[in-house]
Every structure is written in structure tokens, then in C-alpha cells.
């Protein structure tokens, strides 16, 4: 070993010098080890087969970079603001201003900026910086750059030339970047995925150096990928005193601070709050800015708020049913929810649910001389799994994942279980995880009802999560109560949380298709403007004859099950109980809302007007409290009026038959179909680019967007007095 290294020293030193000289300055931590380019996960596979196999079934790895929804969302944001979400790099000639108004070079992005002084530094590479931060940092070296800087942004933006991020994640046999022949087209023949195609993979997480306080807007290492990353052979694992790695492919870190960080929720928290840069004055209902020096003009609103929810929640304490801190890893990297159950009480609800923080015993690397120097024997110990099961399943067909990420990419619906009995299928694990997330009870419902009068159904719900339910992109992730009241003959007296099979002409579905997973709840009816490409290219983007950048609501009206606003604002006990946070656009005096009145005249508000928006880029405030708080039961009432005897007679019914049957269930959908349809249209041929970017379609939505009914259910009966 010593001989090998010593003999390599001159060569490594020669190689190392230019590497050091080119080292980009942003986002690096100090590591006393030699530089090493980020490795594809396949390079980790020989020694960490189990972890590789587990990771490949998650959406975090690979799918996250090529996801049509992620790419569509990033694209739509750029269409609205003129490409400001694309990264700039060290060689950029653009400029911006600091808090004092001084013009400064604009050549660092969200990931490589050391101290933010302008909101555009956070915008630059905003999405890419979390999904592929270290790869973005590599882009400061033009030879290693995957996603180019846009030549024209803002008024100079050219949407017709705009490519989705995933177009840039291909290389040829020589490792040189190749692009699809057409914008948004199929993978180039013979191309293989680039390192960036792998998104969050082994070499991202295991290169961590610690919290990056200056890039976290509250100086606490939470949110927006505020992590320091190594770029070296030092790989951080969960164990102190690790053994030497065969062939010195890497060095297993023995740094206790880095190891402790990797094992903590703080590591996950660094990305799982997302704070969206918003120009002054920022969030119109909640002023927050970068508290670091010079950051006073860097304002934002909170999109993903998951880490803050955990940080201030019961799981980050011993005051929870398990009597100890429950980390992110304890549910998302353990054998949860397959490690046995616990029974406990929350409020007046008796709960039986899976126990977190149960881990299998195994080797951390392949034993038998495969992974250790000098065949040093490995010991078995408690290990994490790398399933990272969450609330998503891919909106890509398996063949597409295999073409864009890895030829062995597994089917999210594959049969079978692993050596521990855990389903191989991501879809099944998602179902099981969500089944463990929430409970409902109808025990407090009125026991008696009368014809022609109101009786009250009370649905008590509790989330059993370490964050709110739903969490993450919680303004689109959707949980809701489906409730029905029938008489003993099956006569439907009331329903809420129902969906109706209907046409969707805006995306080409002209007749109902029999699929209910592509239908929205009936609390509102909304259609989002995708924008268009009918612009005058000689004028600043997006101006033109009838051009607009979209994102406003073309249709927005209350539906018959309008419970979310009726309950929150009006205090009425009626309609849909919706566990979904809300992006809001406050239209200010003089601004249009994107619709016309009955005479066809554009509506321009004279007073501030609040309206839900389905565009994170258009939102200027947010309500993150509509989701269900963890471990705090909440009761939702439904005041339901039974028909009168006269109304029954009109219907030809003598009387309703007792007892009434009340059924409630909590359903889940990972994205509202109307949100997906917005992205279908804005990335389609009639959107701002003028051509189909190959991301989303009604067919894809129908095939792959799968709602999950009945995560939890409850039933009760009600007597009837005539």
C-alpha cells in the first residue's frame, strides 16, 4: 500500500496542481484530502451493491433530474421571469447590484454565491442548485459545464431556444456532451447519461462537509442546499473508525463532526426547506429576508417548509410517542413502516402505527475482501437503507428512465421483496408509507338526525408524521377527506371529497375517459394560463401583440364542494376538508388577474385581491398551515341538512331508511391534475416556446398520475328521527 502511494505521488502531484488551480471557490468545504471528480453511482456499486440497488428504486436518485414535472416546473418559471432561474457561472459578464446599489459582477449562482446581496443570485440556478448543486458548481469550469448560461435573460429572453434542463444530461462515448437533436427531444442515439443525470446520488451526500450558514437565509444551515460539499476522496459515512477502502478508491472519513452531521436531520434539513427568492418587498404577508450581512434585500417566501416543521415539531424532541428524537432517517432510511407497530395515544385517539427507527443489521459494504484493503474483515452492524421512500412515483415510463438515467433502472411497480421483505416497488412502499401517515375517527359525530334538519358529522384527524401532512411541495401535494352519508338503502344524502369523470378539452381529452386519478376535487374550478408564443421578437420579452407569459388563472371559480375557503375564511362547517397548503397571488391595485368580465373586458383590480395560484413563480405569498399538523388531532365538522319529507316525496321516496351510514377516508394525490395540465400546456406547442418540449401530456397524466385512496378510513352510523 505504502509503496503504491509513494510511487504515485509525483503523478498525483502533477495532476493535483491544475485541479487545485481550477477549484471553484463557492460551496466548498475544506477537506484535507485530494480532489476527486464526482463519481457516477455505478462506480460505488462494486462495494455497495445493496445501497445502489435501494437507491435506484427511489425518486431522489436519477428521476429527480429527468422528471418531466420538475423540468416542466423549472421551465415554466423561466417562461414567467425570462430565464432568471438558469445558472450563471464564474466567466459570466453579467452584472447586478448589491444592497447599496453598487454594480457588481453577477457571476455566481445560488450554489456558488458566498454571501447573497441580490435576489437574482438566489434565482440563478435556483432549481438546479438543489437538484444538482455540486454539478452546477463544476460548471464554473466551462469544460465541465452541463447546463449553459443563457445568453439572454429578462427582456432579452428567447423562449423559442430554451431547452429543459434534462436535455443537457447526456454524453457520448468520449464523455463529451451531446444534446437531443430537437429541443426536448429523445435521448441522442448512443448517448449515455451524464453525471448530472444522476441527481442526488452517492457522491453528493457522502461528500458533505457540514452546514453552510452563510448560504442559509436564516444562518442556520436550513434550506436551499445550504451545505458545504467536499470535492475529494473523503467520503463521509455513518461510522467512526471505518476501515480502509480497497485500492484507496476513496477514504472513509473519520471526522466526527461530519459523521454526526450526516446522521442528523440537519443534513436533510439543508435541502428540504425551499425559500423562493421574491423581489422586494418579498412575501406580502410575512416579511423575511436573508439575515446574513449584506442580505437585507434578499427577500423570500417559504415554499417547502418541511424542515422547519420538523425542527419545531414533536419529533425533534423527546415529547413524542417514542420518547426520543425521531430523525428524518428514522422513517425514510430505516425499515419503516415494516419494522413492527407501536400503540399510543394522541389526544383522545388510540393509535397503532409503525414504529420508526428500526434498522436491520448488515454490512455497510460488500464483505469477503471485495471492499476493504488487505481483505480486512467487516463487521455487521445496524445500517440504513437507501430507499428514501416518499410520496412520489415517477411520471416517466420505465423505458424512459432507463434511457435517461440507467439501463438497469427498475420499474416503480416491480413485483417482489428484498432480503428484508421490503417491497421492491417504489409504488407499494409509497402506499405503505402514506398508510402510516394519518388516521381518522368519526366517533364525535351526532348520534341522531332528523329529516329537514341539520346534523353534524365530526371527522377527527391526526397526522403521525415528523412534519405536517402533506409536506414537501405541500402547496400541490394533496390530502383530503372523502366523506359520504347514505341511508340504509344506499340513498346518497351527502358527499364531499368526491371527483367526477369529465372532459378536459384544454389538453385534448374531449370525453370522460373513465379515469378518476386525473380529476380534481370540486372545491374550485381552475384552469391556468399557459402563456403563448405569439410575440413580437423585436420587443422585450414577453411583450408582443397578444403574447403573455401566462401563469394567471384563466378560470377560477368556487365549486360545489368549496370547503377549503368556506371553512378557513368564512368559518362554515361545509364542503371539502383539504389538507393542502396554498400558493397565493395578491393582485395589487392596477394589476390584471388574467380574466375578463362578462363583456370581455380585462379585469383589473382596484383593491388587493387574494387568489390561489398554481405557479410558485407567480405567487407572492403562501399559506403553509392548511396541511395537518403532526401529532395534534383536529376535528372537522360537516353540518349536513337532511331532505324534508316533502322533498323526499318529490323524489318519489317514502322516507329514508335508518340508520345513516357515514363513511370517511383520507385520500392522497401527489399532484393536482389541474397543476399538471398547466405544465402540459405551458411546455406544449402552444406555450411560450412554440414547440412541444417533450415533458408532459394528457396521456402521461392518465397513465402515471396515480392517486391513493383510503390511507385511513372511519365509519359510523346515525339514527334518524322522523
Amino acid at each position: 500500500m505504502r509503496t503504491t502511494l509513494v510511487s504515485c505521488l509525483p503523478l498525483l502531484a502533477v495532476i493535483g496542481l491544475p485541479l487545485f488551480a481550477q477549484r471553484p471557490v463557492g460551496g466548498l468545504t475544506e477537506s484535507a484530502f485530494k480532489d476527486q471528480p464526482y463519481q457516477k453511482p455505478q462506480n460505488c456499486l462494486p462495494c455497495h451493491q445493496r445501497q445502489f440497488d435501494e437507491m435506484r428504486t427511489s425518486v431522489k436518485s436519477g428521476y429527480r433530474s429527468v422528471s418531466p414535472l420538475f423540468n416542466g416546473l423549472e421551465t415554466s418559471g423561466n417562461f414567467l421571469n425570462g430565464g432568471l432561474l438558469r445558472p450563471v457561472y464564474a466567466d459570466s459578464t453579467k452584472t447586478t447590484t448589491d444592497a447599496t446599489g453598487k454594480v457588481i459582477p453577477f457571476n455566481t449562482n445560488m450554489f456558488t454565491t458566498r454571501d447573497y446581496v441580490n435576489v437574482n443570485q438566489v434565482r440563478a440556478g435556483f432549481c438546479f442548485s438543489c437538484h444538482n448543486g455540486p454539478i452546477e458548481r463544476n460548471g464554473d469550469n466551462p469544460a465541465a459545464r452541463e447546463v449553459p448560461e443563457l445568453a439572454g435573460t429578462g427582456p432579452n429572453f428567447v423562449p423559442e431556444l430554451f431547452r429543459p434542463l434534462r436535455d443537457y444530461h447526456f454524453v457520448d462515448a468520449s464523455g463529451n456532451q451531446v444534446l437531443p437533436a430537437t429541443i426536448g427531444g429523445d435521448p441522442p442515439p448512443g448517448a449515455t447519461p451524464s453525471i448530472g443525470a444522476n441527481a442526488i446520488h452517492c457522491d453528493i451526500c457522502h461528500n458533505i462537509g457540514g452546514a453552510d450558514l452563510s448560504r442559509s437565509l436564516q444562518a442556520d444551515g436550513i434550506g436551499n442546499n445550504s451545505v458545504l460539499f467536499n470535492h475529494t476522496v473523503e467520503k463521509v459515512g455513518p461510522f467512526l473508525q471505518p476501515v480502509a477502502v480497497k485500492g484507496d478508491f476513496h477514504v472513509a472519513s473519520n471526522n466526527p463532526e461530519k459523521i454526526a452531521f450526516l446522521r442528523s436531520s440537519a443534513f436533510c434539513n439543508a435541502c428540504h426547506d425551499v425559500r423562493v427568492p421574491t423581489a422586494l418587498p418579498g412575501d406580502l404577508q410575512h416579511f423575511e429576508n436573508d439575515v446574513n450581512a449584506g442580505g437585507q434585500n434578499v427577500t423570500y417566501y417559504r415554499l417547502e417548509n418541511l424542515s422547519t416543521e420538523w425542527q419545531l415539531g414533536a419529533y425533534n424532541s423527546t415529547n413524542n410517542p417514542f420518547g426520543k428524537v425521531i430523525r428524518c432517517q428514522d422513517c425514510h432510511m430505516s425499515n419503516f413502516p415494516y419494522g413492527g407497530n407501536s400503540t399510543y395515544t394522541v389526544g383522545d385517539l388510540n393509535i397503532t402505527s409503525p414504529t420508526p427507527a428500526q434498522f436491520f443489521t448488515n454490512y455497510a459494504a460488500v464483505p469477503g475482501g471485495v471492499s476493504t484493503e488487505q481483505n480486512f474483515p467487516l463487521q455487521q452492524r445496524k445500517v440504513v437503507n437507501h430507499h428514501f421512500t416518499g410520496v412520489d412515483v415517477p411520471l416517466l415510463y420505465t423505458s424512459e428512465l432507463q434511457a435517461r438515467v440507467d439501463p438497469t433502472y427498475p420499474d416503480a411497480y416491480q413485483p417482489g421483496v428484498d432480503e428484508y421483505g421490503i417491497p421492491l416497488a417504489l409504488a407499494q412502499r409509497r402506499q405503505d408509507l402514506l398508510d402510516a401517515a394519518v388516521r381518522i375517527s368519526l366517533a364525535k359525530t351526532d348520534t341522531t338526525a332528523k329529516l329537514g334538519q341539520i346534523f353534524t358529522v365530526r371527522a377527527e384527524c391526526v397526522a403521525l408524521t415528523g412534519h405536517r401532512f402533506p409536506a414537501g411541495f405541500s402547496q400541490e401535494r394533496t390530502g383530503y377527506i372523502q366523506l359520504s352519508v347514505t341511508d340504509d338503502n344506499g340513498f346518497l344524502l351527502y358527499q364531499s371529497g368526491y371527483v367526477v369523470d369529465k372532459p378536459h378539452p384544454e389538453t385534448g381529452e374531449l370525453q370522460p375517459d373513465g379515469n378518476l386519478s386525473d380529476e380534481d376535487n370540486e372545491h374550485i374550478h381552475a384552469v391556468v394560463d399557459p402563456g403563448n408564443h405569439n410575440r413580437d421578437p423585436t420587443k422585450p420579452y414577453p411583450n408582443g401583440s397578444t403574447a403573455n407569459a401566462g401563469h394567471t388563472n384563466q378560470v377560477f371559480e368556487a365549486g360545489p364542494d368549496d370547503g377549503s375557503d368556506a371553512r378557513l375564511f368564512f368559518g362554515f362547517n361545509e364542503g371539502l376538508v383539504l389538507f393542502r397548503n396554498e400558493l397565493t397571488r395578491i393582485a395589487l391595485p392596477g394589476q390584471g388577474i388574467g380574466r375578463t368580465d362578462a363583456s370581455g373586458k380585462a379585469i383589473v383590480v382596484t383593491k388587493p385581491h387574494y387568489e390561489e395560484t398554481f405557479s410558485a413563480a407567480l405567487a407572492n405569498t403562501v399559506d403553509n398551515f392548511r396541511s395537518l399538523q403532526p401529532l395534534v388531532p383536529h376535528t372537522y365538522s360537516y353540518d349536513i341538512t337532511l331532505p324534508t319529507q316533502a322533498e323526499l316525496a318529490e323524489l318519489g321516496i317514502t322516507s329514508i331508511k335508518a340508520p345513516l351510514h357515514v363513511h370517511a377516508q383520507i385520500n392522497y394525490e401527489h399532484f393536482p391534475p389541474l397543476f399538471v395540465r398547466f405544465l402540459i400546456r405551458t411546455t406544449g406547442p402552444n406555450g411560450p416556446s412554440g414547440h412541444d418540449l417533450g415533458l408532459l401530456s394528457e396521456q402521461r397524466l392518465d397513465d402515471l398520475l396515480k392517486s391513493l385512496p383510503a390511507l385511513a378510513t372511519a365509519d359510523t352510523t346515525v339514527n334518524v328521527q322522523e
Binding site: 444562518a219 419545531l312 360545489p560
Partner: protein, 279 residues
């Protein structure tokens, strides 16, 4: 042991490489020695909102606010929301909502209607609509006139706010049903009709809407309510028109009271039979 050898062997290389740099990169930030994963967190409560300039028009879980004693209208509103929604304490909620309204009121210049684009905090602050909607909802039975006044205040704050006109229509309808004088009832019903029609005007069914959704009507519940009023006023043609619109509005959206759809069809059929028998 092997590990130690390996690291020691690398040290000279690192030193050589580091010295070779003309300007060694500094770390972005030197992690504070006091940084503790999972403990280090922002010093302010992120769940307590600083208006900018608008108050947060929603409900924050009371236990997250850490308010010991309400100090401003928003605090009182939040406590009222907690009392109404979690504790079922209607009286307490009304008292706190009234306190909030008194502290955020045009009459005493403690709030303002925003008519120009604000660039930051404004004084007095904007008027809050949620507390007025909530208070109106709790006063509908006991003081319907006050409830309508509060709803109209909300329309002054945001004339486009959906559901407010319909709520006014509901209160007028309830008042009409309770009226003993037919003329008074007729007048109240007419005011209810006006309010419901104002609601419909906020979300007209435009040709674009029909193109992208296939819908030819919307606001099913408003049409149902109007039909019921017209039935009470004996205006059969208007009633049938509204029932037709109700059926159009529910064609692709059904209804919470799905039996209303069957009832509408029965009533339209009965009216049609009556019309045929007359002619």
C-alpha cells in the same frame, strides 16, 4: 491501522497541492463551534408573521404562535380562530373577533383600504378580511344586519372576493324566511337575489371557459339558491331558468347534495307537464 497508513501517506500530497495554490480558496464560512445539528435554528419564530404590509389572512395553529397575551388585531383574530375551530368556544371567538375588528377599523383609523401598490409597511395597516368574515358567520343568526355589514366591509376590502356576495344572499334569505310581513319578506328576497347575482357576476362563464372546460354554467349552489327564492316568490319561469343553469353547472361537477340534481330534474319535468297541460 491500514486506514491510518493511508491517510498519513496522503498528507504530503495535500501539503504539496495546497502550497502550490497561488490563492488558496477559503471556506465559504467557518462553521461556528456552537453549531449543533438539529439544535441550531433561527432565533425568531418563523410561524409568527411580520405583516408586509398585509396581515396573514389565514389560520396558524395556535400552539405554534407562542402568544401568551394577544397584543394586536391579528393576535386576537388567531386566538378567535383557535377558540372557534379547536375549542368550540363561540362566545370567546366572537369576543376576540370583535376586539380584533375594533383594533383594525376604518372608523377609528386603525386600518385602511389599499388602493395603490404598497412598497412596504403602511400606516395604518391594511384592513383584515378574515376576521370580518368569521365574525359575520357567527352573527348571522343573532344579528344578521351586523353580519351583512361585516360582509360588505369585506367587499370594500376586496370587491372580487368569492363567496361574500353569496353569504350576503344567504343572510337576506334567512331574514326573509323569518319575516312576518309579506312585503318585508319580498324586499329581503329581492336583496338576496341581487346579492346572488353579484356573486355570479364575479365569475362569468366566458367563451374561453367553455372552450377549455366544456362548462356552460357555474356556481351551482348560487343557482340552486336563486331557484328556491324564485319558487317562494312564485316566479316559476325564473325558477326553471335557475334550475336549468343548476343542472348545467353540475353536469361535470355533481353536487355535495347530489339528490338536489334529481330534485331539479323532477321539478323541471313537473313544470314542463304543467306547461303542456295549460297549453
Amino acid at each position: 491501522m491500514t486506514k491510518q497508513v493511508s491517510r498519513i501517506a496522503f498528507l504530503p500530497l495535500f501539503v504539496v497541492g495546497a502550497l502550490a495554490q497561488s490563492s488558496p480558496p477559503a471556506p465559504l464560512v467557518t462553521p461556528s463551534s456552537t453549531y449543533v445539528p438539529g439544535v441550531t435554528f433561527q432565533t425568531t419564530n418563523p410561524n409568527y408573521f411580520m405583516p408586509n404590509p398585509f396581515y396573514f389572512e389565514g389560520r396558524v395553529d395556535w400552539n405554534l404562535l407562542k402568544i401568551t397575551q394577544p397584543a394586536n388585531p391579528w393576535d386576537y383574530m388567531q386566538r378567535g380562530l383557535h377558540e372557534q375551530d379547536e375549542l368550540g368556544d363561540t362566545a370567546g371567538a366572537i369576543a376576540d373577533y370583535q376586539m380584533a375588528v375594533s383594533m383594525n377599523n376604518l372608523a377609528n383609523n386603525t386600518c385602511q383600504l389599499v388602493t395603490v401598490v404598497p412598497t412596504g409597511p403602511i400606516n395604518p395597516p391594511p384592513c383584515i378580511f378574515t376576521v370580518r368574515l368569521r365574525l359575520a358567520g357567527l352573527l348571522r343568526d343573532s344579528d344578521p344586519t351586523q353580519a351583512i355589514s361585516l360582509y360588505q366591509d369585506v367587499l370594500n376590502i376586496d370587491p372580487l372576493h368569492l363567496g361574500v356576495n353569496a353569504a350576503i344572499g344567504e343572510v337576506y334569505t334567512t331574514m326573509a324566511e323569518a319575516a312576518t310581513d309579506p312585503a318585508t319578506a319580498q324586499n329581503l328576497y329581492q336583496q338576496a337575489i341581487t346579492a346572488y347575482q353579484a356573486e355570479l357576476a364575479l365569475s362569468p362563464v366566458t367563451p374561453l371557459q367553455t372552450q377549455v372546460t366544456g362548462d356552460t354554467a357555474n356556481n351551482a349552489h348560487v343557482h340552486w339558491s336563486l331557484a328556491e327564492i324564485y319558487a317562494k316568490l312564485g316566479q316559476s319561469a325564473n325558477e326553471m331558468s335557475e334550475l336549468n343553469l343548476y343542472l348545467q353547472a353540475t353536469k361535470w361537477h355533481s353536487d355535495t347534495y347530489v339528490w338536489h340534481i334529481q330534485l331539479a330534474k323532477k321539478r323541471l319535468a313537473a313544470a314542463d307537464r304543467a306547461r303542456r297541460s295549460t297549453h
